[in-house]
Amino acid sequence: MNDWVGVYNYWIVVFLMMAGLYIVIARGNLIKKLVGLNVFQASVFILYISMGKIEGGTAPIIEPGIKVYTNPIPHVLILTAIVVGVATAAVGLALVVRINEEYGTIEEDELDELEEQERQT
């Protein structure tokens, strides 16, 4: 029992991961898709951060009396991944703005319809 509850942050990761991916697949609104994508990415951030953390661990400083260190590398890696995530969201939202300007809609099914018409002409 304790094994299952003790790793509760991984359960959160799995939930967010599935929820995010589901939103990307199931929602037709382009903004909602991007939100889903961000939730999906955030779950991976938590995965990395969780694995680096040790209960009672301190920063890795050599000092008498400090025995348990937390590994800072996953945290630093995730800083990079967060930047990538922000950049992706920015580019994605910019694209949605341009799509809205050109098509007048950001609903996937309406976009598909407009493109289908374009293909036939």
Partner: protein, 493 residues
């Protein structure tokens, strides 16, 4: 001094040229910077290949900032990635030489310097993915190249470029995040991100469920990035509606680099004994590769838009590359890597030829190509040259890669596979012939625009066509390095 720092310069020079383009701001200055940086990157990649071929053990290990691996980031170059670096840098240089008039006709003046900035960032990302020996670094460079390619695609003239780019963004991000999850799980059990270090620790952990899950996540993520059927949905529109220059550049480099990472992860990090021997990833990928060969080619036949047709043909060609890997012998992997090289040349030439057509006529649909063989003889001759390569006609490099693929299949005793490769090549004849028929055997409409594309565009196109034929006759470089690369990958090191 410079020679020993070539691995860093390979990345740093194109990377620095990107902000330089922004600062330069004026289009000619930005273009000049991008042009010089791309060609210097090409020269560096040639020198690197030469160094690797003459290095002791065939490996150059470069420690960034002097931090020794596995703690610091290591650039690790062997014949595999030196070869892929050469492909990417060569295509980058040829395409930038072509870019001037084509970009001028397709992208509005105020955006052009930013276009060149993104082009250089994309080149940096692709080179970075290839050169690095650090699994997380691969993710960072992958995203640099992807983010800039979303922008490059979205500036296409057709408004469908926007939705294509959005779709690519969703797929690309999911793919890269899957890869990131896989790397995270591997880090969890091994505590390292250095590829060579990972390779030495994983054999002891092959029973671990975490490693198996990481294996699966990375496979799906990279297959998405490489547009392996049935995860190719993002590719056709992205290549069809992107500016001509971008289609040519991405079609010959982006998916290739993902396939390189796939080979690297499964053959170097996990090792052939685990990924092929006990996990059987080759049997998993094989049906998809074969389906890609047929579905890609068959759909290509029915495309009225020629750039879209070429994009579907790319999906089929990716099938051939993965098929080479899935044969899982040294000869098979050689065929896969060789096709990576040859396909970059062929598809580059074809997309550049389509760029010339678009420049002159403003359309690339099959209907607008009537009589084009006489209206633009040099461009269409280049298209035919590239098309013959796609079919795999002798004297072109496409023949060489099909030859190796077929002999690798026969070596394993898989006659049915050799037959399938030949059958799917027949489909390529149909879609190439369709264009040839319209362009050469139908009279041109009276009011059709006539005249050749500018020499600045024709020369780079023909450079690729001539390279097509050259590497179909003299295979010392292409096959020689590919064979050594396959040996390095399959030999567990």
């Amino acid at each position: 001094m410079i020679l020993s720092n070539l691995p860093a310069l390979q990345i740093v020079l194109p990377l620095l040229s990107a902000p330089a383009c922004v600062i330069a701001r004026r289009t000619p200055a930005a273009y000049a910077i991008a042009f010089v940086a791309s060609w210097v990157a090409f020269v560096i990649s040639c020198l690197l290949l030469w160094q690797v071929e003459h290095a002791a053990g065939g490996v150059i290990s470069y420690h960034l900032g002097g931090w020794a691996p596995p703690w610091g980031i290591e650039y690790r170059i062997d014949s595999v990635n030196a070869y892929v670096l050469l492909i990417v840098a060569a295509i980058g240089a040829v395409v930038i030489s072509y870019a001037g008039p084509s970009v001028a006709s397709e992208i509005p003046e105020p955006k052009r310097y930013l276009f060149y900035t993104c082009y250089m960032l994309c080149l940096t990302g692709l080179l970075g993915v290839t050169i690095t020996g650090d699994a997380f670094n691969v993710f960072v460079f992958l995203e640099i190249s992807s983010l800039s390619s979303y922008i490059l695609i979205s500036v296409g003239k057709d408004r469908r470029a926007l939705t294509a780019s959005y779709r690519y963004l969703i797929f690309g991000t999911i793919g890269a995040t899957f890869y990131l999850i896989g790397i995270g799980l591997l880090y969890q059990v091994t505590g390292t991100l250095n590829m060579a270090d990972l390779a030495s620790r994983i054999p002891a952990l092959t029973g671990s469920r975490t490693v198996h899950v990481a294996f699966a996540f990375i496979a799906v993520g990279l297959a998405m990035k490489a547009a392996l059927f049935p995860l190719h949905i993002w590719l056709p529109n992205a290549y069809a509606y992107a500016p001509s220059v971008v289609s040519a550049f991405l079609a010959s480099t982006a998916t290739k680099v993902s396939i390189y990472v796939l080979l690297r992860v499964y053959l170097t990090i996990f090792g052939p004994a685990f990924s092929i021997g006990s996990m059987g990833i080759n049997y998993l990928l094989m049906p998809f590769a074969i389906a890609a060969m047929f579905v890609g080619s068959a759909v290509a036949i029915f495309q009225p838009d020629i750039k879209r047709m070429l994009a579907y043909s790319s999906i089929a060609q990716i099938g051939y590359m993965i098929l080479g890997f899935s044969i899982a012998t040294s000869l098979g992997v050689t065929a896969g890597i060789l096709h990576l090289f040859n396909h970059a040349l062929m598809k580059g030439a074809l997309f550049l030829a389509m760029g010339c057509v678009f420049y002159r006529t403003g359309a690339v649909s099959i209907g607008s190509m009537e009589g084009l063989g006489r209206r633009m003889p040099w461009t269409m001759a280049a298209f035919v040259g590239g098309g013959l390569g796609i079919i795999g006609v002798p004297l072109t490099c496409g023949f060489i890669s099909k030859w190796y693929l077929v002999s690798a299949a026969i070596e394993r005793g898989w006659w049915w596979m050799a037959a399938l490769v030949l059958l799917s090549s027949l489909l390529a004849i149909i879609y190439v012939w369709r264009v040839v028929e319209v362009a050469y055997f139908r009279p041109a409409p009276a009011d059709a625009p006539s005249g050749e594309a500018p020499l600045l565009m024709l020369i780079p196109t023909w450079v690729l066509v001539v390279a097509n034929v050259y590497f179909g006759l003299d295979t010392r470089l292409s096959v020689g390095v590919a064979a050594r690369a396959a040996k390095a990958l399959m030999g567990g090191g």
